[in-house]
Assembly symmetry: C2
Homo-oligomer: 336 residues x 2
């Protein structure tokens, strides 16, 4: 099959990749579209020491499964595949199973290919009304909903989101649903403008006055984001850490103790909530779609996605470069 | 009056210190005994840039106050003195008021002297049955109860306490009250033995197997304690940070995100709970008392307290060096 393959050093487009072999309980999915995430770029830089096909945000069609009700369905999929038998799995912490594989991230080929395999239990059918490219956002949007699942952020809370990139945009859109007092802090006027249009207050970091936020969600993807978060969270407030990056970060632990700050790590979240929010049109993601590329141009797509002004870049399996025209995706998407 | 005075460089015993001046609402307390805390040693090393009389763990007798019901009472006292008017005070975060003074720690003379002043609202009378030296433990024991106040640690929780020193000992004794599965990890066999005698499981760090604790309370007073805590906390588990120390600490934030670990800073706690636990004899602290010294020998006392095997060292205002004999304190205390 066709796909992008990372050998630990280099990412290559290949047409000779073997189709996934299906263990019992797994389903074969023909990928329709896959999103590029910052984590993919970290992986190409050595994060997780991954070898194989990257990509973990996708929508596709189930073409082989032992679960009849999934056959032929348009699905999105949770990326963590736990062993099911260890102590952590028995405690209900399957997403943290130490023997888990993770789609396109750890020990499991991912979505930048024609086909992928996932346990049938990981798949969520999406309603027909949810368009293909919007459905690609389910995985990162679920990660944004994870913040709401972990913490009692409510209508009286003051919340800052640090970072105006793809994840910050989604977290801000989830946070604003609960009526809280919300400010998004970023470095990119064009990205902040997308939020202004939704009635969400924004500020450039340079123009920010000191504030005492109850919650600060750190989505900047940058170690300095945590420093900002520590400056603007109130005593006894909570910082949600969503950014992963290589290397350690210097933290003043005494300040954390004296001010009784909490830092809470936050990763993957509830897919069903994300699907509902998109289907109910409570969250619209069309303004976050940047460009789509055919699979053959996956390397160009990843390069483009690394640009500081890029938003969500999508690999669209339904177009070929020869076509030269956009496929049946979202109207705001453009072929570069 | 007599007392120990730190000028920013050196601690000195002096007999010419002025008695505290009482602003409206404050009470004058004749100190009976004061405990030496690790924070005092950090302060002498430059922490908080404190100048003045250190000391924040004490019991004394109220000798001047506008509150008739406090007059003549044996009291212990909360150390944070908030402004009462700022935004944080109005939010109920008085202990985090940015204009607060803190007894013997920030902008307020402390307990290593004959007299101290505190707002009457900070004082808690102690029952006659609570002996003098035990009452000195109310402040650090309240800090230990703070952990139970902040987090839902319960009978089904698995809890590790990192550190077998003074604070670790108190946290362990509070944690064991709720029936949880508890392990204390330390470096000092003699200190761990005190906990063994209470039926609390202990381990030397060197003999520790990897474990998945729900909660890890870091009381080691040492930056490496956090590294250990991160190794033994389970995914989605919580680390309570109670140690303060100078300088930053390197933390792998990505690991925190991926494993969804929380780090919660924890400082001062509920005095009434600490008084009740001591009065009900649910917590006994006599085995934690090391030696007492007269005020005149305060510098020797602080030196002695810095020794790695030392437990709680108390400055006893009721004895003079000339007496050469122990005063009316706890029988386990010895004059060196």
């Amino acid at each position: 099959m066709r796909g992008l393959y990372f050998d630990g050093n280099q990412l290559r487009y290949r047409e000779d990749l073997p189709q996934p072999v299906l263990p019992a309980g797994e389903a074969l999915v023909a990928v329709q579209a896959a999103g590029i995430c910052r984590t993919d770029q970290e992986i190409l830089a050595g994060y997780m020491r991954f070898h194989g096909i990257p990509g973990h945000e996708f929508i596709g069609t189930v073409i082989s499964t032992s679960e009849p009700e999934l056959m032929g369905k348009r699905v999105v999929g949770e990326i963590n595949c736990p062993c099911g038998g260890c102590e952590l799995c028995r405690l209900g912490l399957q997403a943290h199973c130490r023997d888990r594989t993770v789609l396109g991230v750890a020990q499991r080929d991912g979505a930048f290919a024609e086909y992928l395999a996932l346990p049938a239990a990981n798949l969520h059918p999406v309603p027909d009304s949810l368009r293909t490219f919007s459905a690609v956002f389910v995985e990162p949007l679920a990660a944004a909903f994870r913040v709401a699942e972990q913490l009692p952020i409510g209508p009286r809370s003051s919340v800052a989101v640090v970072g105006d990139g793809k994840l910050g945009q989604l977290v801000a859109r989830v946070m604003c649903l609960n009526g809280c007092d919300l400010l998004v802090i970023g470095h990119h006027p064009a990205k902040l403008k997308l939020l202004d249009r939704l009635g969400i207050r924004t500020a450039l970091e340079s123009e920010l006055a000191v504030r005492d936020f109850d919650f600060v969600v750190e989505c900047s993807g940058n170690p300095t984001g945590l420093d900002l978060a520590l400056r603007i969270v109130r005593p006894q407030g909570t910082i949600v850490a969503k950014s992963t990056y290589q290397g350690d970060k210097q933290v003043n632990i005494s300040a954390l103790v004296v001010d009784e700050i909490s830092i809470v790590g936050s990763r993957c979240g509830p897919f069903k909530a994300a699907i509902r929010a998109l289907t109910r049109r409570l969250i619209d993601v069309t303004d976050l779609m940047d460009r789509s590329f055919p699979l053959e141009e996956g390397l160009v797509a990843l390069d483009y996605a690394a640009h500081r002004d890029a938003l969500k870049v999508i690999i669209d399996m339904q177009i070929s470069p020869a076509a030269g025209l956009h496929g049946p995706g979202e109207p705001v998407m453009e072929i570069p």
